[in-house]
C-alpha cells in the first residue's frame, strides 16, 4: 500500500520505543500526559483516517535535575492538506539541570518522516535531485551562567538528515526524463554560538551574540551564515495592570546565499499589555523588520506588523476555563492578515463547548467546534469537528473525530 515500506518499518520500531518510554515514565512515577484523537477525514479525494497522538513526560530526578520526554505522531492513509507525508513522528528526550547560577540542558530529537514524498530539497545546490526525507536526528546542548547582572550562554546543535535521492536523467532512446533512485545519502548541519546579556538597570537589558550556521555537505559552503547581533530590551510596569516593553535588535549576516540587502537586519518591537479588570486582558504589539545592504546605502522595509489580542474570562465558571479570545495580525506589506476568534463555554457540570475560527488571507480558513467532557480534572474526552478550507482551489477537508487526554 505504501511506496516506501522500510520507512514505515523504522517508524514502527519507534512506536514500540515510545511505549517502553511511557512504561518507564510510569514506573518512575513521572508526570505523564497522553492525548490521542482519531479523525475521519473527507474532502478533496477519498475518505481517510487520521490518528494524532501526543505524549509528554516530565520526571524530577533531583530538585535541580529533570528529565523530559515528548512524542508526537500523525498517521493517515494519504497525504492531507499541505503536509507532504502521510505519517510523521517526532520524539524529544532532554535533560535539564538548573542551579542558582548555572543552567545546562542537553537533548536529542528525531523526526521520522514516514511515507515521505520526494521533495526538491536543496534545489539551489543540486536542481536535478529530489530527496525524500527519511529520518532527521538532532542533538543539542546549551549552557547558561548568570552572575550579578551578567548572563553568558553558549549552544551547539548538530542536525543529521537521512534521505533517499532520486536523480532525473534524460534518456536519449525514449527522449524522456527518467527517475533513477540513488543510494541513501545523509546531510549534516551544525549550528553553534555564544551570547552575552547585561542588565544595566532593572528595566533595561543589553545583549550581544554571534552564531554560525554551517551546512557541512557542500564544498562551496553556500548555505553557511555567520551572524553577529546586538540588541536592547526595555520592560516597564508603570502599574500592576500595565506592562510596556520595547526592543531594538541589529543583526549583521554574512553568507554566500543571502541576498545582499538582507546582510543587515533591524528588528524593532513595541508591546503594550493591559489588564482592564472585569476579567479582560489584552495586548497590542507593533513589529518592524527592515534591512540594508553592506554599504547601508538604502533602507528596505520587509514588514510592519500589528498584533493584537483580547481575552475575556466569564466569571460564572468556577474553574475559570470559560473565555472568549479574539485577535488579529495585520501586515500590509505581505497582505497575509490573520484573524482569529476562540471561545470556550461551560455548558453544564464537567461539559464544555469550544468554537474556534481562524482566517489567514490568501491562504486558508479553519473552523472548529469541540465538545469536551471532563470526568475528572485530569481526564478529558472530546468530540471534534474541523473544516479546513484552503484558498488555492483545493476542496475543503472535513475532520470529524473523538479523542481523549489523560494526565497521570
Amino acid at each position: 500500500m505504501y511506496p516506501v515500506r522500510e520507512m514505515c518499518g523504522s517508524m514502527s520500531k519507534q512506536c514500540y520505543l515510545i511505549f517502553i518510554f511511557v512504561l518507564l515514565a510510569l514506573a518512575l512515577n513521572a508526570e505523564v500526559q497522553i492525548q490521542s484523537g482519531l479523525f475521519s477525514v473527507n474532502g478533496n479525494g477519498d475518505n481517510t483516517y487520521l490518528n494524532q497522538t501526543r505524549i509528554d513526560a516530565n520526571y524530577q530526578l533531583l530538585p535541580q535535575l529533570s528529565l523530559l520526554y515528548s512524542a508526537k505522531l500523525d498517521a493517515a492513509d494519504r497525504k492531507l492538506g499541505n503536509f507532504p507525508q502521510n505519517k510523521w513522528l517526532s520524539n524529544y528526550m532532554g535533560v535539564d539541570y538548573r542551579s542558582k547560577h548555572l543552567q545546562v540542558s542537553a537533548a536529542y530529537r528525531n523526526l521520522a518522516f514516514g511515507t515521505a514524498q520526494s521533495l526538491p530539497l536543496y534545489q539551489e545546490w543540486r536542481g536535478d535531485l529530489e530527496l525524500a526525507r527519511k529520518m532527521q536526528h538532532q542533538t543539542q546542548i546549551e549552557a547558561k551562567s548568570s552572575f550579578g547582572g551578567m548572563e553568558l550562554s553558549a549552544f551547539g546543535i548538530h542536525k543529521h538528515l537521512d534521505t533517499t535521492p532520486t536523480e532525473y536523467v534524460f534518456n536519449f532512446d525514449t527522449f524522456e526524463m527518467e527517475a533513477v533512485q540513488m543510494p541513501d545519502r545523509a546531510f549534516d548541519d551544525a549550528y553553534y554560538g555564544v551570547q552575552a546579556a547585561y542588565r544595566v538597570t532593572p528595566f533595561l537589558d543589553l545583549r550581544a551574540g554571534t552564531d554560525i550556521q554551517q551546512a557541512n555537505f557542500t564544498k562551496n559552503e553556500i548555505y553557511d551564515i555567520n551572524t553577529v547581533a546586538f540588541g536592547a530590551q526595555l520592560q516597564l510596569e508603570p502599574k500592576a495592570t500595565t506592562r510596556i516593553s520595547g526592543s531594538f535588535d541589529w543583526e549583521n549576516r554574512a553568507g554566500e546565499n543571502l541576498e545582499p540587502v538582507t546582510r543587515n537586519m533591524f528588528y524593532t518591537s513595541l508591546r503594550l499589555q493591559q489588564s482592564l479588570g472585569m476579567n479582560i486582558n489584552g495586548f497590542i504589539s507593533l513589529l518592524n523588520t527592515s534591512c540594508t545592504d553592506d554599504e547601508m546605502s538604502d533602507l528596505y522595509l520587509i514588514s510592519n506588523q500589528i498584533r493584537s489580542q483580547v481575552q475575556y474570562h466569564f466569571s460564572y465558571d468556577p474553574n475559570q476555563a470559560s473565555y472568549l479570545n479574539a485577535g488579529l495580525k495585520l501586515s500590509p506589506e505581505f497582505r497575509t492578515n490573520t484573524y482569529f476568534g476562540e471561545g470556550q463555554f461551560l455548558l453544564m457540570n464537567h461539559l464544555y463547548a469550544m468554537l474556534n475560527f481562524k482566517r489567514i488571507e490568501r491562504s486558508l480558513s479553519n473552523y472548529q467546534a469541540k465538545v469536551s467532557f471532563f470526568p475528572s480534572p485530569f481526564t478529558e474526552c472530546f468530540l471534534q469537528y474541523t473544516i479546513s478550507s484552503p484558498d488555492n482551489g483545493d476542496k475543503s477537508l472535513n475532520y470529524l473525530g473523538v479523542g481523549t487526554s489523560i494526565r497521570l
Binding site: R109, L121, Q213, I222, T262
Partner: protein
C-alpha cells in the same frame, strides 16, 4: 524617567523605520520577502519543519523554530501550517 525616555526613543524608531523604509521601498521598487519566526509566538510544534521543502527550519535550544535564511526559498508553505501564525 530614564525608562520613559528610552521607551519614547524606541517608539520613534518604530515609527521612523516604518515610514522611512516605505519611502525607500517605493523609490527602488524592490520587493523583499523574508520569513522569520516570531519567537514569542512559536509553540515549537514542528509543523513548519514537516512541510518545509528545503530543510531550512530547525529547532533551537528553547524548542522554537528557526529559519536558516541561506536555505529558505520563500515558498511560504510554513506560513499556512503554523497554528499560531508565528511566521
Amino acid at each position: 524617567m530614564k525608562a520613559s525616555y528610552i521607551l519614547i526613543i524606541i517608539t520613534l524608531l518604530v515609527l521612523l523605520l516604518g515610514f522611512a523604509c516605505k519611502r525607500a521601498n517605493l523609490t527602488t521598487g524592490a520587493t523583499l520577502i523574508i520569513y522569520e519566526v516570531d519567537q514569542n509566538n512559536c509553540n515549537g510544534c514542528g509543523e513548519c519543519i514537516r512541510v518545509c521543502p528545503n530543510d531550512a527550519i530547525y529547532w533551537n535550544n528553547q524548542g522554537k523554530a528557526v529559519i536558516n535564511q541561506a536555505k529558505c526559498t520563500q515558498c511560504g508553505k510554513c506560513v499556512a501550517v503554523c497554528p499560531n501564525s508565528a511566521i
